[in-house]
Subunit: 227 residues, 2 copies
Amino acid sequence: MIDVVMVPCFVVKDETVVVVDVLRATSTIVTALANGAREVVPVKKVEDALAKRSKNTLVCGERNAKKLEGFDLGNSPLEYKSEVVSGKTIVLTTTNGTQVIEKIEGNSIIAASFLNVSAVVEYLKEKESITIACAGTNGKFSLEDFLLAGMIVKRLERDDLVDGALVAKRYFESVKSVREEIKKHSSHARRLIFFGFEKDIDFCLREDLFGVVPVLIDGAFILREVR
Amino acid sequence: MIDVVMVPCFVVKDETVVVVDVLRATSTIVTALANGAREVVPVKKVEDALAKRSKNTLVCGERNAKKLEGFDLGNSPLEYKSEVVSGKTIVLTTTNGTQVIEKIEGNSIIAASFLNVSAVVEYLKEKESITIACAGTNGKFSLEDFLLAGMIVKRLERDDLVDGALVAKRYFESVKSVREEIKKHSSHARRLIFFGFEKDIDFCLREDLFGVVPVLIDGAFILREVR
C-alpha cells in the first residue's frame, strides 16, 4: 500500500516513511549530504540546535524563512556547498520539515525532494508499505510537497493506492509544468519569492541533480548511495 | 480567499467554515434537517449524547460505522425519514464528522454534502473568506470529502485559491464520474460497502436532493432555507 498524508498531526507509522518538505528542508538535507556533509541532525528547537554546537558541527536553519542569530547557515540549499559542509555534522532546525520528523515512526525513514526524486523512486521499488509524509507550511497544506508526492506515486506505477496517494497522483497528472505550477500557485513559494529566495526555489525544483537517498538512522540523516 | 484543509488538527478559523463529511455525518445532518428535524446537536462523546436524552430528542450516531447500544438511530441518512425526525432534536455523535466541529471557529459554520451542494454554493457566493474543512476518516484523508470540496471550489469560479483549494479543484476536474471515483477508490466507501452500507453511499452521492443549508448556531445545526 502507498499512502500520502498531509501535515501529519498524529504519529505516522509505516514500514517506510518518506518525508517531503520541498521548500526547503528536505532539499537542503539532500544537498548537504550530496555535497559531502557527514550527517544532518534534524532538531525541533532553536536552543537544542545551539546546544549541539561542537567541533566540525554547523548549526543551521531558519524561522520564518530567515537565518537565525548565532547560526552558521540558514535553510537555503545554495549555502550548502562542498567547501562549506564537507565532512561536517549539520544540525538543522526549520519551521516545518524538521518538526514533522519527530512524528514519524518507520523501519526506514528517508528524505525526498525533486533534487533526488529518481533515487527515491528507485529506493522505494523494493518497499511494500510506504507513507509519504508532506510537511506542509505552518500546519497547512503545501501544494509543492503534494506534487512531489504525486510524482513519486506516479513513477512507482502501483495499484494499491490509499486515498491520499490516489489524489496526489491525479493532481500530478493534471499539472503540465511542475515549475510553473509551484512558482505561480504555491502560497509558500510566493512568500519565499517575496523574501528574496527565488533562486532557492529554482534550485529546489531541479530534478535529479543528486543520485542520493538520505536515510534517518539514530536521529541523523546519512547518505545512502543508490547509483 | 478560499482554502481547503484536510483532517484539521489545529483550530480552523475563518469568516466562513464549511464542514464536509460526505460519508456520512454531514449527509445525515442535511437529511435530518431537510426532513423536518428541529435541530442537530453534534456532540463528541457517546456518554454526552446519552446524557442529552429528553422528550422530543433522538440520540443518534455511530462508532466504527455501527449504531450504538441505547441509541435511537445510527448514522445512516436513510433512517432520518420525516415520520421519524420531524420536530425532533437530533443529538449526533460520530467517529469523524462531529469530532471536527469543536476544532472550528467562524462567523458562519455550515454543513455541506453532495445532497445540498448547489444550496451551499449559493450560500457561499456572498462570502469573502472561506475554509472548507474536510473531516477525513480516523485522522486520515478521505477522497470523497476532498472531491466535494473541489466541486464547491470549481462552482464558485474564483481566482483567490489557497493551495488546498487549488489542488481540490484540479482533482475534481480530473474525475470523470464522481460516483465511480468514490465507490471504486475511497477506502472509507469500500469499508462501508463491506459493512453493508452501499445504499447509504448511493444516497449520499445524489446531488441536490435538498435545497437547504445547515448553519451551526449556539452548538446546534439549524435549517436555513436558500431557495
